[in-house]
Amino acid sequence: MLIKLTGGTLYDPASGIDGQKKDIYIQNGRIIAAPSAEMPIEKEYDLNGKVVMSGAIDMHTHIGGGKGNIARTLLPEDHRMDPVARTPITRSGNGHAMPSTYVTGYRYAEMGYTAAFEPAVLPINARQAHMEMGDIPILDKGGYVMLGSDDFLLRMLTAKKDQKAINDYVAWTMHSAKAIGIKVVNAGGISAFKFNQRKLDLDEKNSYYDVTPRQILQTLAKAVKELGLTHPLHVHGCNLGVPGNVETTLNTIQGIDGLPLHLTHIQFHSYGTEGDFKFSSGAAQIAEAINSNKNITADVGQILFGQTVTASGDSMRQHYNHKYASPNKWVCMDIECDAGCGVVPFKYKDQNFVNALQWAIGLEIFLLVNDPWRIFLTTDHPNGAPFTSYPHLIRLLMDRSFRNDMLATIHPEAQKMTSLAAIDREYTLNEIAIMTRAGAARIIGLKDRGALSPGNWADITVYTEDADRQKMFTKPDYVFKDGELVVKDGEVIHVKWGTTHVVRPEFDISIEKDLKPYFDRYLTMKMGNFKISDDEITEDGRGSITVHPLRGAA
């Protein structure tokens, strides 16, 4: 089947196209060059006057894994307000803060997204993450596997094992857990919490292991580089949410010696201690550090006002934050000498000084970081806000007067503590396309995705130009996934199943000589039963695995 998309205005930053009228041809799921005149076009879409981008990619969103399911179970009252009925082609479910899997897929697709990546796959919980993502229709998916508080790594570091052995363990874990990146959450802090440490600074030692968070970050960042992973080490920093943590974040950037680092939900790590409330914006310093350190990328983790639930691997910080739980119920878990998690419902309020300033800090970071290829649009779903709020966030970035109108309604003391009103910048459509498409595909290391040039998979979103950007991005005219039309006028009309993206760096299998006795002595599962096999993802006939090249090997 040959499909032609005629006359749309393309925003395809990966190909250097910024608002040009061009036709697109699709065959066998991929975009092809203009075919010869003899080839019959079976379906043509007139896209004159429409905005065309590749399908959006969420590079950090909690869509699969145990803590999300804890969040769901914890909040039946949140689901009751947002039931989603079955249709002839879609399954029923529930939405709002932590939607059910099917609803997650439909709602992402209905906003023009075609891929989403779970950033906190615990190795021991990776099966669940993949099973949940396996029940998310339409989207492609993948995960970053969490290391840094696992006892095996901390024992290796304490025993001063060489970098090669660490690299082998990291690569082995990626294979076992089927991952495309490596994530660190509060490096060593989740372990430290199990030893009853309640805080852990960058250079503070774990009370049991002779290891600091900085060492863990350096070692894993080096492993990522030496293994040739495209996605930089994905870092949820120390001291999340702590006033003054801007110093920790700057110190993290300085101390990584130029290695690639992705600082996630950086809004939560950009707080100073100035002002009457001893809470202030560190956004300008953070943006300056990102601007001047080309090895650093970040996603924002914007908060938006309203009820949500925070679900994080950072059991240490989540336990501290439980006093802000709203409603007042929360879950913390220590998990399998591997990691942990904390689930705390939050209600961000515009009349709460701290929440209001958090909102402003996130926007300041978006607007003060110059290079849209190195900053990504996230709310750290569901932690800052549910992903369904992205169109609203896009409008805040693209529409200065709208932003200032909103700014005028937040807590007055917070208004005084932000420079937001003085920032003129408005994101362009091309910059939005970079942040949510081309840049995201590049930073994750997705081959043949996130672009509209021939050879790419035909993940394509078509919008009607509208000065109200929230309206525009809420309801695309068309969304194509692998060349099949899945959404029309903002509603799912066809359901298909995406692939699971992974990388498979090489490693020395002799690492299993150390791992097997460790599993036998200390863990509650045999090493052989721990490793996830490909057929666990593909055997249902819907799932598939796509292996991406390592850096430079493309």
């Binding site: 009751r80 079955r86 399954r91 029923s92 479910g93 049991y208």
Partner: protein
């Protein structure tokens, strides 16, 4: 004959995965690391392999077609049991979504004691490997732990630990029910502390523990026959522990106010952490696919496994949608029952009944449709959740019995119903 090693068990709830099993034709024999729960469950022989309609042996296709007919002509079916693997539960939910059924896991009344507490105030829990490597004080409330899982102590307490220098120093305290045997005695002979009381007194005893932890002064010297000073000792030990764990089995708490007792225990755990020591809860369960049902239902609907699709979208009610109540009150008009782990019969009812059961299941009243299905982890591969709710184990296929999986049968029934696929 073949021998399969490192076999994971879906039966014991603790995800034991070191069994060795000999396979000879269809016969299984556990030759290493068996226990009173796992060995008989694995070795249960296959008897019937043929589906039946009204007691007559029929082809699988005929049984599937009859089951679809029954569902087509119902207004409010209930899908009970739900004792299966992840793919089986996925298929139950898919069929229920299409048929407007109520889905209810057979252990939900037990799980409810935990879920009501969790959904009201949350909890701080841990998992097996943390318990194995860290726990130095274990308080067991209202449960015979070794009766629940015969190898629990051997595998997780009297075994090498990363952070406990001498495992013999681990302090085991039973509160309420006492153990049937001596599994809780350490290798060096150190015995557990036993504080017996009636199950019915556990709400009061738990409340006293919480009060003592909060520093309240009690006038009473004894509660439920226990010296308050002994209860104070428990509190002191938990507070002094490096990593205390409080465990309970919701199934064993067959008492009024069980959920309040669970909530009090969870409150004690949180309070100890608040006061500056580490402590975690550890609810027991994981049998007959209960955690599996709740997990899969959780991500598919947002709710644990007592859900109605009658309105076209999932609704959760921990009381209204109980299978037995629906049958008693004539609120359902058909029963689909899934039990792949054992041959226990479904609840008795005069309603049209479809049973997907383990081979050998017998009935007082023959159901309209009986389809013997494979047991996950024996007859087909699959996934099951352990009691600690984090770890899903990969179940192996051990033999070629030809028995279909729950998912295969239910998917075929759904296809037979022939509405558009999604």
């Amino acid at each position: 004959m073949t021998e399969i090693i490192e076999v994971p068990s879906p039966f014991c709830g603790i995800g034991t995965d070191d069994l060795t099993i000999q396979v000879e034709g269809l016969a299984l024999k556990v030759t290493a690391n068996g226990c009173a729960v796992n060995t008989p469950a694995f070795e249960l022989p296959i008897t019937d392999t043929q589906a039946r309609v009204a007691g007559q042996q029929v082809s699988l296709e005929t049984a599937i077609s009859k089951a679809a007919d029954i569902l087509r002509n119902t207004n409010q079916p209930v899908f009970g049991g739900c004792a299966t693997d992840v793919n089986g539960m996925r298929a139950i939910l898919s069929l229920a979504d299409r048929s407007g059924a109520i889905v209810d896991n057979l252990a939900f009344n037990n799980a409810r004691r935990n879920l009501l507490a969790m959904q009201d105030s949350g909890w701080m829990n841990t998992t097996l490997a943390e318990l194995k490597n860290r726990c130095d004080v274990l308080l067991i409330v209202g449960t015979d732990l070794e009766g629940f899982a015969p190898r629990f102590f051997e595998r997780y307490l009297w075994n090498e630990a990363m952070f406990v220098s001498d495992i013999n120093n681990r302090e085991i305290i039973y509160l309420g029910k006492l153990p049937a045997g001596n599994a809780s005695t350490s290798p060096s002979g150190r015995k557990a502390t036993l504080l017996a009381c009636d199950d019915a007194d556990l709400p009061e005893v738990a409340a006293v523990l919480y009060a003592l932890l909060k520093g309240k002064t009690l006038q009473a010297q004894t509660v439920a026959g226990l010296a308050v000073s002994d209860l104070q000792t428990i509190v002191d030990k938990l507070k002094a522990a490096q990593y205390g764990v409080i465990t309970w089995g919701a199934a064993a708490l067959a008492i009024e106010q069980a959920e309040l007792t669970v909530q009090t225990l969870c409150g004690i755990v949180k309070e100890i952490n608040q006061q500056g020591s580490r402590c975690s809860g550890f609810p027991l369960g994981g049998r007959e696919g209960d955690q599996t049902a709740n997990q899969v239902c959780g991500w598919t609907t947002g709710y644990p496994a007592r859900v109605s699709f009658a309105r076209g979208y999932p609704e959760y009610d921990p009381y209204l949608f109980e299978t037995q109540a629906l049958l008693n009150n004539a609120e359902a008009d058909a029963l689909l029952w899934v039990q792949t782990f054992n041959t226990n019969a479904p609840p008795e009812t005069g309603l049209p009944t479809i049973v997907l059961g383990r081979s050998g299941m017998s009935f007082n009243r023959e159901p309209e449709v009986f389809i013997p299905v494979g047991t996950p982890g024996i007859d087909h591969a699959g996934h099951a959740y352990r009691l600690d709710n984090v770890v899903a184990i990969r179940l192996k296929k051990l033999r070629d019995s030809g028995l279909p999986s729950t998912a295969e049968v239910l998917t075929a029934i759904e296809q037979n119903l022939q509405v558009s696929p999604c």
